[in-house]
């Protein structure tokens, strides 16, 4: 039924026009160019389903970490079941502080701390491993100074008094693993390792939250969540052929024309729209149609990442300080990005760039990439639970952050840890 209102009539005409549109092989006005599919396919290849995209080289660092974690637990082979391994998980750990009036091999009185760990075994029912934690010689048996008790945790020997001193003090308490949380910030100084373009990374930073699971022997597994901002600049030459068709004179008397050109940048290839003005000075150096105009375009790429670090830390006590060594890997996911033009330098004085727009082209920056890291740190324990740390860290791309280059970044990291 034909609509009566003129507007409705018009709308009906247009809706019908587009709804009943047949293919028009004679004209390509409604056919997208091939580059659309090329760009879509390239994007899809980068974002294959998660498991498919995780290649061995990406998984390898985590498998390595897993292997390292397992190697920290001695494995007891159970001969009754060939091939089966029983992980070393202590069923009970007791710590004994033993006072020797005269320590073996020495005439001095001494206090020794040892750990007895009982582990289950199908064959032996139970196995006891004894680990000597420390032995401290003391000057006088009838006086236990706080220095002498330093190796003992306050929880292990909470109420020891000189008056109650007996030849043997044995206190049994399980050594429990512990959890920790923390926060940190890092300043990074990235360097490009392989580059096909003139990329200059800027100083970057990150902040993060950390969670850890520690064992009594100074090994701690750490993970967390980081947010980081990376920036790099790149300079690319752009050469355009001067043309006067489709140009017009603006209000300032300049001959203006729009040019389009692909621009290579740290982010990838972008499409650059430039509105260029010929100032048309009468100095005899007028540019001729067909001549090349050269520009240098400097762009800044800003990338925000959410990252998941996972690593192992081994620490050694040195008085109130802990010295730690960390190894691990970080998975980065790009959450936002921006490409901006900083500066356009025209190599012909009479040609000026009036306006520039960037449109997305082919992305070369990885949406996901992985780093390996190693760090050496020192932390100061303010109390039993709280400590501050300063750490030097070195990160290296395991997978390239961009198609063209890898980045390595030394960093300084400052943070706080709380033992739960």
């Amino acid at each position: 039924m034909e609509p009566r209102s003129p507007h409705l009539k018009e709308d009906h005409t247009l809706r019908t026009l587009f709804a009943d549109l047949a293919d028009s092989p004679a004209s390509d006005w409604d056919t997208p160019s091939e580059k659309v599919w090329v760009n879509v396919a390239s994007e899809l290849a980068e974002n294959r389903p998660f498991l498919q995209a995780l290649r061995w080289r990406y998984i390898a660092p985590f498998l390595l970490l897993l292997a390292l974690t397992r190697s920290c637990h001695p494995v007891v082979r159970d001969s009754a079941v060939p091939g089966e391994f029983v992980p070393f998980i202590p069923a009970e750990t007791t710590t004994t502080a033993q006072v020797y009036p005269s320590a073996p091999g020495s005439n001095k009185p001494a206090i020794a701390v040892r750990a007895d760990q009982v582990l289950p075994s199908k064959v032996l029912q139970e196995t006891t491993l004894v680990k000597e934690l420390s032995i401290t010689f003391i000057d006088k048996l009838d006086y236990l100074s706080s220095t002498a008790l330093l190796p003992l945790h306050s929880k292990i020997v909470p109420t020891i008094q000189p008056a109650n001193l007996s030849p043997i003090i044995s206190i049994k308490q399980p050594l429990k693993p512990y959890w920790s949380i923390g926060a940190s910030g890092a300043l990074r100084f990235p360097q490009v390792l392989k580059s096909g373009a003139s990329i200059s990374p800027k100083q970057s930073w990150s902040i993060g939250l950390e969670a850890g699971y520690g064992k009594a022997d100074g090994i701690r597994f750490t993970t967390g969540l980081e947010w980081s901002v990376q920036q790099w600049t790149s300079v690319a030459p752009v050469a355009l052929t001067y043309r006067e068709d489709q140009s017009y004179t603006d209000e300032r008397g300049r001959l203006v024309r729009n040019y389009q050109q692909a621009l290579s940048s740290g982010f990838g290839t972008a499409n650059l729209d430039m509105l260029l003005a010929n100032t048309r000075q009468n100095d005899g150096s007028d540019i001729q149609v067909g001549e090349t105009m050269s520009f240098r375009v400097r762009t800044t790429t800003t990338l925000n990442y959410l990252s998941l670090p996972a690593g192992l830390e081994k620490s050694w006590k040195a008085g109130p300080l802990d010295i730690s060594l960390r190894l691990g890997a970080v998975a980065h996911a790009n959450i936002s990005d921006r490409l901006e033009i900083d500066r356009v330098e025209s190599l012909r004085a009479r040609i000026q760039a009036v306006r520039m727009d960037l449109r997305p082209g082919t992305r070369e920056t990885a949406r996901f990439y992985f780093d390996a890291y190693a760090g050496l740190g020192i932390s100061h324990r303010f109390s039993e639970k709280h400590s501050l740390f300063l750490r030097g860290e070195y990160r290296h791309n395991l997978s390239p952050v961009s198609r063209g280059f890898y980045i390595a970044a030394p960093a300084i990291q400052l943070g706080y840890t709380r033992r739960l």
Binding site: E10, R15, W29, N39, A41
Partner: protein
């Protein structure tokens, strides 16, 4: 809403729609390309209507297809695939337009507003899709989007206001100005109609 698209592509005939979907979900590049080939033309026509030129339409199409492939696991086969693709593409286009235009500009039109004579003939009757698309592309972005959503897609002003985060009265005003601008453009394309007093 939606479109009907009959394919003559033998590759598509072999791959039934379900197989096509299944292949795309598995990340099979052949299935992805087949889906793209099947729907690129109607979706590109829509992109053309929302853009200022072919280059911008290709950007819309590219981003739209990337979104389609990423959202495909969420497709529930409760309706036709074409309608779902159409909706995803439209959302993607609107998102890109919003990003580009920040605020859909309400531009002043000719100081002497064109008054629509009730007796006027339909100025678009007899024009082909390419010509009308070209005319729509010449509209300012704000007019173009509202015009497309209201006239072609059939959204109400209330729905457009929600989609574009503008007021209903802005939507109505944009549509009014878009209609006026289009009639003027039709007069440029077809001066013989204007001379005949039809416009």
């Amino acid at each position: 809403m939606g479109f009907v698209h009959q394919s003559e592509n033998p590759q598509i005939c072999r791959l039934l729609e379900n197989e096509l979907l299944h292949g795309c979900l598995k990340g099979d590049p052949r299935a992805q390309k087949a889906l793209y080939d099947e729907y690129k033309t109607p979706l590109f026509r829509m992109c053309l209507r929302y853009s200022k030129d072919k280059m911008e339409s290709e950007d819309f199409l590219q981003e739209g297809f990337i979104r389609i492939f990423s959202d495909l696991p969420h497709f529930r086969a409760q309706g036709p695939l074409g309608a779902w693709l159409y909706r995803v593409m439209l959302n993607s286009i609107l998102q890109q337009v919003r990003k580009k235009e920040r605020k859909l500009a309400v531009l002043p039109l000719d100081p002497s507003p064109y008054l629509y004579p009730d007796h006027a003939a339909d100025p678009f009757l007899g024009l082909d899709a390419q010509t009308v698309t070209g005319m729509i592309q010449q509209l300012p972005a704000g007019y173009r989007v509202v015009f497309n959503l209201f006239v072609i897609e059939g959204f109400s002003h209330q729905e457009i206001a929600e989609l574009l985060r503008i007021s209903e009265s802005t939507s109505k005003s944009q549509l009014f100005k878009a209609r006026a601008a289009l009639r003027k453009l039709a007069r440029v394309y077809y001066p013989e109609l204007a001379e005949g007093g039809k416009i």
